[in-house]
Amino acid sequence: MAVARQGSDELARALDLISQIFHRDGLFLDIARSQRIGTTFLEQQQRVWRKPECNTDSGATNPACVLAPLAAELKPTPFAGAVSAFESWLDSHADIELSLPMLKTAPAWSMFQEGVLNSLILIVGALIATLAFALLFGAAMGSRVAPLRWLARLVTVTLQSSPIVLTLVIAAAIVHAFFTYSDAVALAASIAALGLANGSNAGQALSEAVWSLRAERTTARGFDLFTRALGRSATQIVAFLINAAKGTPIASFIGAPELLSALTDITSFSSGRATTYTLLLVFYTVVVIGVVWLCGKLRLYLEGRQRRAEAVA
């Protein structure tokens, strides 16, 4: 804990002892557990402050007990020089002031890489979850069992009525009630929320296709009817898949460590906000264009299957 450099010796000593006792007796640990946050560091600190050589009134001055001071100077990446040279070259030749802080220091580069990876995991997860929930809701709302249909309809209307930010917050609140906070938990909660919100809408379109095929007195039944309905509702399903991919950056609102979150952290200790957020916009736009292209292929495949099935019928 930081105190004023002068005239705060007694306050510093008191805070040292309070922290030492709270670590030793597990008070910090209990608070962390009650709030479901990670406890690895606090458990390690409790072990340290319970050692006989540390559990004394002079333990805070023992280098074997206290942590080494934080190295405030950020370690550069092996290619930081080349990045700086490129920035200077662009400035002098094209009069463009480009700043790439995520490539120049080791912590920023590591956060950037993790952010990109987590964003891709989130997008793939959201797409799979949306498709899975679409099939589930589509089957339930297209079912001839009325209570199942009503239940699925109620959940769909509820999800449609909830702004996505609220759906994410609810998912996070429920997940945190059962699990300790971690990056994986935040990603899982985001994937579930995005999948449910978009999958329920896609499932509704799928069930409407099922009912429209039944209204046309098609001979198809069971799985065959369902696959033909998939073809008929392909455009809607694809639209919600794209929507799910586009919605992934909002997961940063509940602490999912995706690229927006990582770059926001990077800009907190470096310059170049304009370039950073421009790159972020380009990254997500390119990824979504890729998802749109892939989903277009999926739509063509589903529609082709439906046309072939109708030709056979």
Partner: protein, 215 residues
Amino acid sequence: MNSLLAELSGDFLPRFLVGMAVNFEIAVVALAIGLALGMLLALGRLRGGAAGVAAASAVTLMRAAPTFVVMFFLLNALPREASLFGMPLALSGVMTVALSLVPYSAAYVSDAGLDALRHWRDGSTVGALLFLPNVTRAFFVLVMSSSAGAAIGVTEGITVILRQAEQLHSLDDRLLLFALGIVMFGIPLQLGFALIGLVQRSLGRRAAVTDEASA
């Protein structure tokens, strides 16, 4: 439920309604700009040629741009001292959220507008009028999407709910409050969708009458 009501601050409902009004305000601004820009793009696409290619490319990019990222881009990438025709261009939180929704609304209006213009050109007034329920649908999507403003401190409906939730101690009470929020957002949304359904059915009946008359 009783414990939740006891813990809710007295001015929660008025604050929430004021917050929801901000959601509607954001949606109105985003749709108004989206209508102007989207119809221009639709006209460009209808005309074809180089203008059509440029308009279609712009719509593809706008369709792919995630609202949440656009919002942070506007917030961080625009210089604080930016100006337009000598006027300072410092965006308020509400305007930042509204502008971040413009790519979506303009792309949507462009698609729906192009369909409407084609129907109009083919002599189907009823088909062209489907533009109205489609735009109404976009408006309600914009109202729901405007809750992204909570991430940058805009005091809209969801922000009010989240601030209130921070003061509640039990998860059950928080979930009840969230459910209340869903109901409050759900009522205008479902009424809006019911209205769209009514308009579409009415247009469908008119189309059927028109088809019979022409046959």
